[in-house]
Amino acid sequence: MSQVSVTSQRLAVIDLERRTFRVEQLDPQLTSRFLGGRGLAARLLMQYAPRGCDPLGPENPLIISAGLLTGTMASASARVNFAARSPLTGLLGSSNMGGGFGPELRWAGFEHLVIRGRASEPLWLYVRDGKVEFFPAARLWGQGVYQTRRSLYAEIADPRAQVLCIGPAGENQVRFACIMGGIKSAAGRTGMGAVMGSKNLKAIVCRGRGDLPIARPEKALEYNRRVIGQVVSSKVSRVMQRWGTAFIFDVTNTTGLVRTRNFQYNQLPRSEDLECEAMEPYSQSMAACFGCQVHCRHRYRLASGPYRDFWGQGPEYSSLGAFGTEVGCRSMRTVLECNHLVNDLGLDTIETGSMIAWAMELYEKGILTRADTGGLELGWGNDRAVAEMIRQIAYRRHLGDILARGPLPAAEAIGKDSRRYLIQVKGMSSLHSDERPTPSLALNIAVASRGADHLRGRPAIDLYNLPLDLLEKVYRRPDGYDGPLVNDWTSYRGKARMVMWQEILYMLVDSLGICKFHTVFFSPNHPAFEEFSQLVEYNTGLELSARQLWTAGWRCCVLERIYNLDHGLARDDDWLPDRFFDEPTPLGLPVARGKCLDREKFAAMVSEYYRLYGLDRDGRPSPELLNRLGLSGQLAGHAAGGGQ
């Protein structure tokens, strides 16, 4: 097995055609520049994916990357990132999950797997103790995630192994198929499951018995305990320990920040059964990712129905929108059953719910009819139709085959003016949050590097009306930003900074392998750059100041943008659908009612965001910026702007 070292990461390049692998040590410089996880994955994608490759072709690599702190026992250091060119957007494909796979990969001797080519017949990989083995998976092909896991655990007889797999949706190359790790953890967004399916790769089993050295064990134990204490002592962590992310629903639906009936309303009144407390009769207990004391996941089992023999975990806040408000359903039971369905079939919850909600609006408008849906009555609040549509998408039947292509190709296939009802950015649908009343949150989804996505830069604490001095303590560090900051979430002022700050912070935690609920996401008092600098030092021995981590995060964010520019991204793509500007919100509390975004102010916000990043007015990095971030030499010939 290759040598473990904190600065030189271990990578296996796996060739599915030849069924071979080779192990490499990465240049240690890459660690201090791109850290690991999502950041380093973007760098590896640049290297291994031929520019413009077919996302579902053999040249598109699937890159699996553990974070720099993954498996170290730092607070919730569980995460592992998946990268490829996205079959959903044609841009950056990037998604990460918690659970147990990331740490196991490191104990098995690798920080990264680069999976290339396409197997001639279905395979599964066994990654253990520094080796990669190839096994036939014809028997597993067609099985759901739950059954696949049972089959594999029975075959390997090792309950401590970790299993990643795709379901029928990935096999059928649904453009928003996910990769499942465990029964709940998912690399949900940007269609990484379709990439895996296109490679004829059904599953990856991982088991490791190797050491992951901690640089300063005594210090690390003490400091890790302190940081965990910092996280669990916040009010929001106490709420999440009991109800998970579903707690958000109570606040956002009450206020009027929840997409309802696709985008027709911003609130679903009298939906008590979707509130997080409605989960209590179903929840047996809570589960956590590796090393996490927040344990945000309910463990539940339904007494009847097709999934009565299977344990489920969740639901997330996103499930309450996808199978609740967006489709006009008011039943926790439906949410739980659909949660089972998407996890078992291997579909991204957010994209699936959004596509169905959009189809329902088209059905209401008469753009789609029963002739298109295979006879299905696609009316709002038709719980049974939602579940059936999920199956249609996974198995590509009837309308499901069109929806499975993702928002933009589906709109093209359906035609008429179906496209104007889509709630998407860069070809990826949005969470069920309604950003019309909240300029900062709207900017976040408009500019996010993988399409409409809240997890790339959401300044959620903007919604708290925090005292200005607290807001300043958060957002002026660590680089001494001295521009405007405003604690009124209806304002456009100073919000570009919040989004940029959150983007760089989230890039950092995604690259370290830390869960976002353990940083400044829902609490201003959670760890940020300073704490992560200490965590990195004690756990890995790498001395990177808060400022250096900020720069590394910035570098990785710009790198992701370069990848997108290389694949056709333009300023127009950092923008929202017309409905955000033209249709005022009809419901909610006064603060959120009658609101839509102002085009001019929004454009100014995008420009401010570019300026803060050091991008030109088209959103392209200037030569000075590339120089400053040390990206120019490496990326000569890529999308440098500013020249014209």
Binding site: P213, S285, A288, W311
Partner: protein
């Protein structure tokens, strides 16, 4: 020391969330690495079967492991119940491992010697890091309610 006797590790399995932080910190405390195979306790987790069970050394009143040791390599302080493995006296015969009725004792995959729990010298880090309260270090078993 309280009248209730020495403090011991107690497991309240229905509180366990399966995070396995205890495994990680245990190996770091003793060996400076994370590696669940080298932890002195183990959490059996199966999401599919909804199993979340920490398996720890119980500091038994009558320690079968120590009784089974033919070379007197394994011993403990009867006041604190802190176990000690004299490595030079242990040839890794595995008798102690077989003797443990809870299967709490396992061999170090590197050296083959038993990974005996020494309660971190009296302040076990598994319990210190378990905020869920599934592993508790106390003289008496705490009540089940949270």
């Amino acid at each position: 020391m309280s009248a209730a006797g020495p403090k011991r590790l107690h497991v309240i399995a229905d509180r366990c969330t399966g995070c396995r932080l205890c495994e990680a910190v245990c190996a770091v405390r003793h060996l400076g690495v994370t590696n669940p195979e080298k932890a002195r306790l183990q959490v059996q987790v199966s999401e599919d079967d909804n199993t979340f069970t920490p398996v720890v050394c119980r500091q038994c009143k009558k320690p079968r492991c120590i009784e089974a040791c033919p070379g007197q390599a394994l011993s403990r302080d009867e006041n604190t119940r802190i176990m000690h493995l004299e490595e030079s006296a242990c040839d890794g015969c595995g008798k102690c491992i077989e003797a443990c009725p809870f299967r709490a004792l396992r061999p170090d995959p590197g050296t083959g010697l038993p990974l005996a729990c020494d309660l971190c010298g009296g302040d076990p880090c598994c319990a210190e890091f378990c905020d869920a309260g599934a592993i508790v270090f106390a003289a008496a078993r705490p009540g089940k309610s949270r």
